[in-house]
Symmetry: D2
Subunit: 458 residues, 4 copies
Amino acid sequence: LPIRDGRLKGRINESFSRINASIRFDKRLYREDIEGSIAYAKALFKNKVLDKEELEEIIDGLKNIEKEIEGGTFVFLEEDEDIHMNIERGLYEKIGETAYKLHTGRSRNEQIVLDERLFLIKTTEELKKTLLMLFKSIVRRAKENCETVIPSYTHFRQAQPVSLAHHFLAYHAALQRDMERFEDFLRRLKVMPLGSGAVAGSSIGIDREFLRKELGFEGVSGNSIDAVSTRDFIIEFEFICSAIMGTLSRIAEDLILFSSDEIGYIGIPDELATTSSLMPQKKNPDSLELIRGKTGRVFGNLISIMTVMKGIPYSYNRDLQEDKEGLFDTVDSTLAAIEVMKEVFSGLSVNKKRIKTVIEGSKDYLFATDLSDYLVKKGVFFRKAHRIIGSIVQYAIKEEKSLSQLTIEEYKEFDQNFEKDVYDVFNYTRSVNLHDVPGGTALRRIREEINRIEKQLR
Amino acid sequence: LPIRDGRLKGRINESFSRINASIRFDKRLYREDIEGSIAYAKALFKNKVLDKEELEEIIDGLKNIEKEIEGGTFVFLEEDEDIHMNIERGLYEKIGETAYKLHTGRSRNEQIVLDERLFLIKTTEELKKTLLMLFKSIVRRAKENCETVIPSYTHFRQAQPVSLAHHFLAYHAALQRDMERFEDFLRRLKVMPLGSGAVAGSSIGIDREFLRKELGFEGVSGNSIDAVSTRDFIIEFEFICSAIMGTLSRIAEDLILFSSDEIGYIGIPDELATTSSLMPQKKNPDSLELIRGKTGRVFGNLISIMTVMKGIPYSYNRDLQEDKEGLFDTVDSTLAAIEVMKEVFSGLSVNKKRIKTVIEGSKDYLFATDLSDYLVKKGVFFRKAHRIIGSIVQYAIKEEKSLSQLTIEEYKEFDQNFEKDVYDVFNYTRSVNLHDVPGGTALRRIREEINRIEKQLR
Amino acid sequence: LPIRDGRLKGRINESFSRINASIRFDKRLYREDIEGSIAYAKALFKNKVLDKEELEEIIDGLKNIEKEIEGGTFVFLEEDEDIHMNIERGLYEKIGETAYKLHTGRSRNEQIVLDERLFLIKTTEELKKTLLMLFKSIVRRAKENCETVIPSYTHFRQAQPVSLAHHFLAYHAALQRDMERFEDFLRRLKVMPLGSGAVAGSSIGIDREFLRKELGFEGVSGNSIDAVSTRDFIIEFEFICSAIMGTLSRIAEDLILFSSDEIGYIGIPDELATTSSLMPQKKNPDSLELIRGKTGRVFGNLISIMTVMKGIPYSYNRDLQEDKEGLFDTVDSTLAAIEVMKEVFSGLSVNKKRIKTVIEGSKDYLFATDLSDYLVKKGVFFRKAHRIIGSIVQYAIKEEKSLSQLTIEEYKEFDQNFEKDVYDVFNYTRSVNLHDVPGGTALRRIREEINRIEKQLR
Amino acid sequence: LPIRDGRLKGRINESFSRINASIRFDKRLYREDIEGSIAYAKALFKNKVLDKEELEEIIDGLKNIEKEIEGGTFVFLEEDEDIHMNIERGLYEKIGETAYKLHTGRSRNEQIVLDERLFLIKTTEELKKTLLMLFKSIVRRAKENCETVIPSYTHFRQAQPVSLAHHFLAYHAALQRDMERFEDFLRRLKVMPLGSGAVAGSSIGIDREFLRKELGFEGVSGNSIDAVSTRDFIIEFEFICSAIMGTLSRIAEDLILFSSDEIGYIGIPDELATTSSLMPQKKNPDSLELIRGKTGRVFGNLISIMTVMKGIPYSYNRDLQEDKEGLFDTVDSTLAAIEVMKEVFSGLSVNKKRIKTVIEGSKDYLFATDLSDYLVKKGVFFRKAHRIIGSIVQYAIKEEKSLSQLTIEEYKEFDQNFEKDVYDVFNYTRSVNLHDVPGGTALRRIREEINRIEKQLR
């Protein structure tokens, strides 16, 4: 029974119909829709709207539809608009008029948010699992490279020596917070909206607590108007995905730079690279570029749903249909980006030889802060020490010398506190181990941190 | 010949492959890709890379592929990554090794921007045509409603009487500027990039001027690095669509309000409305809500491509692949929104009876500015007149009287300049016609404006 | 000692200097900067970098600077770039060279994130307090209007009768989730970054646990590179503010509509309205429009910082300076919006008389769902009942009758199940109380919900 | 005369007042406001609302106010809300009640858009001038570096040799399109809105054509409702600034990379760099990072105003006040970014020696496409040639040889077409000059392009 026909005259306008129908994309929610309808049928039985036989007919019918959809034999019709009405029509074709009872006291306004919440619960769990796999790859790489010292970068200029492990663990630290955000989000997500009716709450006294248990939620929504009006659970989800993608875009940038012809600390495996259709020598890090690029669409989807919701009055408005395509795209893009990043960490090689060459070619400027610390320990006030070393570096550049090539006489001309032991400063392991605080790059601190994370990952 | 195989070892990683392949969406550009390849083959012939026979083979082959794609029989392979390589492979299957010559001196970097520019030229023309149809619907409605006086609104509060035609023409005025933006954009769009090679320019001296004419462009790009690096033509296009959607979202809001139970100036035809699955009395303006909602995704797509391009180095980077899905979505959403809005204007009814009731129920507050003008003409300084009328309105509200119900004595208590002729003020036609400047709501001005637009539309 | 002078030649370029200096806006963090420096000085004392006397000098100096800043007598210099260097210079002017020791082993990279985190802890608490005040205003209004029945709206069309209290509580339900988001965020925010150095961790073994306690944090950051690189705490904060503003924009829209000339359910107090400079009768809801408008800037600031962070390499980059102005603007805009919204709820009046008129003028369509329920209880299948009532409404519109004006004969023509008791349906209190589930609009459910919230608010 | 007082009771609410008043930021428009008021006074004189003496009083008064504002002696009051009312009050203090006539028939709704349009006309011209200066710096650098050959990059991997001039001219090509966008925009901007009244058009028959000439506009607005409702001129302006910033962010990225420790093609002058507060050796490209970072806020401001306008009904709504702060910020940020970028190009040094070292260290892979061309000229089909060279590169990497170090025997093992002349390929000047098409990197093409641009710049 097309629901239009009672109230409205004539057929739906064709141009309008094309944007009105959502079945093209919301059919992705078929499993959740059926799961919700089965639970609702059970509640209707508890409520005596359905008898035992009708309940079984409905459940059987719905399960058959699920199988048909999965087998690719179910026929979706655009004139049935959305996943809810397609399944209702399919059920009618299977079991006849009993199907017309299933929607008793239920509105699509509540049905769609139920489907979306069920979908997001599963999806969030999947994202968490994929993140975990990425974490394991990162930590494995970190473990292998505790003693690989690279220049750290600030302003994309070589700064101080750090362990490559420390650098990799920075990626984990950032993404770990997104994992926690997902946890927090799940608490808000697992609130069951069914029983809200179109807007005012169910008028047939449906047992919401029963539905909650049946569908595995942790709470029921406390206000029916809010329940059908809000999409903040979609916005929060898309925000967390945006946070992840923002971090992945920075990791991708790092790895593109680190694997470049000019830096070359790491190598991307061939199976994650492409070549050019014109330039046969090229080995391009497309996997990383695509991750970086996908950041754009995930940000865009967030803005999209925020814009949709801005300034529309309560309660449900049809604008809300625009929540789904962007959501699905964000799910797919974020999952793909995490997965590919995991492959990158699994497959990358660390060019220790190259790293050594680079670091030795750096003219010891990486030790400038250590030199400054040296002076401070000799009693020079920090700001003065900073200034003295700055001048020494300027001098060394002019003289085209590395810092360890300067003679003690040259040092003494800048400050009398310099002594022979200044040359002890130019030692990477020593330098790294100087940063010996929780969160610092000293080897024992990194090992502690790795142990802590590994425990957490188990 | 898979282009990977020479340079890279092993097969492509599976997760990466899923985001690497773009054929799923870029096949939409098949027509442009073939058009570009035919022109390029002709240029290769001019250049003696191809002989006459080879040229004909290639052109025939490409035309056959076009037919197969349109007939649904062409097989797209994900392992061939994109539309360019799929067509090249298809051509090889048809004509053998000659197909391997077609890419001589050409790069996918230039090929994709050629395809996109050709696609956007057609699409922009289609959008312009659709906008024109909307303009005609709006103007027709305006013409029918020159003498229908409604309250204008500022701050969504009734302000001054205006012609409904004047209100509708404001929509046209805004959208007309977007039409001009499309014109300006086309000038920048019609610049031919082919011959830019991968980045440094064609190395086989291809005749770019010949290609330009062949493909109907107005100029050729002046810098090969820029030609393959920029996506500003996509960004500008998406911006103009965003501007259109921003305006449509406001028109949609207006019409949702004007067709509401409480206002009811206009009626939405049944074929552009839906009902509720639970509440059988509902007639909902979903067509307008969906237009308003689609604004979100078009804005989101703009931000998406802007984010993609932000801060990536020159020249081509693979991030740029992310330009297409958002673009296609913007094209489809904007076209649909304009079309449906055109249907709305074609189908809407104006409830003149209802408008009259509302306006008569408004207690004449709509004439307050006219009353103030009345006092100014009697010599009261404007700011004082404004204040006096403000107090009179406050008084009338307290007394629960309309402004025309106040006695002349009551008026005189506020200001001695009031005389019997004050009651002439309370006349809608007079009021509207007072605003007799170019761009004002006086009937003769509106008619002039309609004439001007109608000439333009022809 | 200008830190440039050692390393770099010449003066800073003037154009660059204008964007380089951040003191114009980051001086807002002076209190946090001083708080952090005092704690750091104590740690330096523990570390024997400072002796007792030096420590006291520094603390006294810093406290004096704080007083001077608050008294407006401290001179900020643009050539000192930022709040950190301005205070360091101020300290030198007060206590001489001892000031040069304060920065020992500390970097501005860690200092700025410490300041920002301290600032956000305070700010988030202030926002929570302000939200609480808004909640109290909303609940007070709800309590007064439990029995005020208005039409609920879907698609901005009258839907079913609901209690105005229920409608107001939907606002609370949405904003309550943002309150929880702030709670979750605070856990992530209260992580102490000091001791991270420029990037590699403190090289002077500063006691980070001591600093944590001193500054009231809950944990210390686990990776120094991450600590100076991330701004996700700013992004998450701006996201939550965006979520709040998104909801406020909808509430504002509701109240603008509800207080309009045509609807008039509520009145905005004069002190929250403005009039027009030209139209003296106007009373405009500017307070609500500005709240709705400010949504734009808060969204914009979120996008701004997300864009800044996109695709920049690790670790600190100067781009990060762009995090502050948007953040401050978001803080101010959101606080102002919540405060003004609280004033609106405190001051608004509910026009019960007007509501009654509107609801009685609605031709009983609001009861259509109840009529459908009536038939279902008589045994009609839900979808059929829905269709029958749809047709009855269509008939009533054509006949220009309200639903309760139709005779029993007319009803029976549509379905034989109708009996005399159908007229019992047309009763607002009965209708509202039918929706008797948790979260529904039945009066006892609303009262329960108000009790629950009031307990929570205490 | 506070305009509130007639119509509204009581004082304005304090919280509301803080967001209601815009004088804090809109005072930046004082010059335009006064310019507009002088023109309006003249029109009122033409219209006989003012006599000669009054006109002179008003003009004198306004000019005095302008001087006072510029001298810093004018007192802005927050209770006068905005720039319009502050100046009106100032005028009253100077010339008494005549001031009350100036607003006759004029609304702040039209006044603000007049001010904004006048402001943007000047600002756009200033931006164009600044862009021109940047163009000159770029072209100067290009001219000096026609024969400096660097690797071009795709996917941030070395691609083919190009002239550094060609690379720099790509920046000009992109920004030149934004210059054209400004031109197109100015046509739409120079439309005079005054005479639109609050919404319905002037009711005192003001001479709009006279105002247009007086204020230097090219046309008058054709619909009063549109004139006060639209902000598309602000949105378009912010879009063009976003396009500029997007391009500048990429140039900044390029230059940060090119000036890095590892690449070093260019040097940033000390006066555009900073050092670290902790690491005394650092010379950081903060000027470029800040340009890149400012992209975020300019994008954010665009989204902000687009969000503000989304879905608000016609005509003027107070939300529109939120257009100004973002606009001003975009103006300042974009101007500063262009200026600093101009300084960068003026001051940067090109390290030709370093470039030579890099390019010679690149193992001749940059010539791979030329090698492929070599084979094609010998009759090998393009796709096959591509594959052969790919294999040769793979082989050379394994053997750790450069391409020119491979013997002719080794070449012949891959393809018999190789002959002794293959070694002619390894020549940078020859390679660059092979790309001899319009827009290509051949030296004569670049020189032609420089000539063309220089003519245009004159």
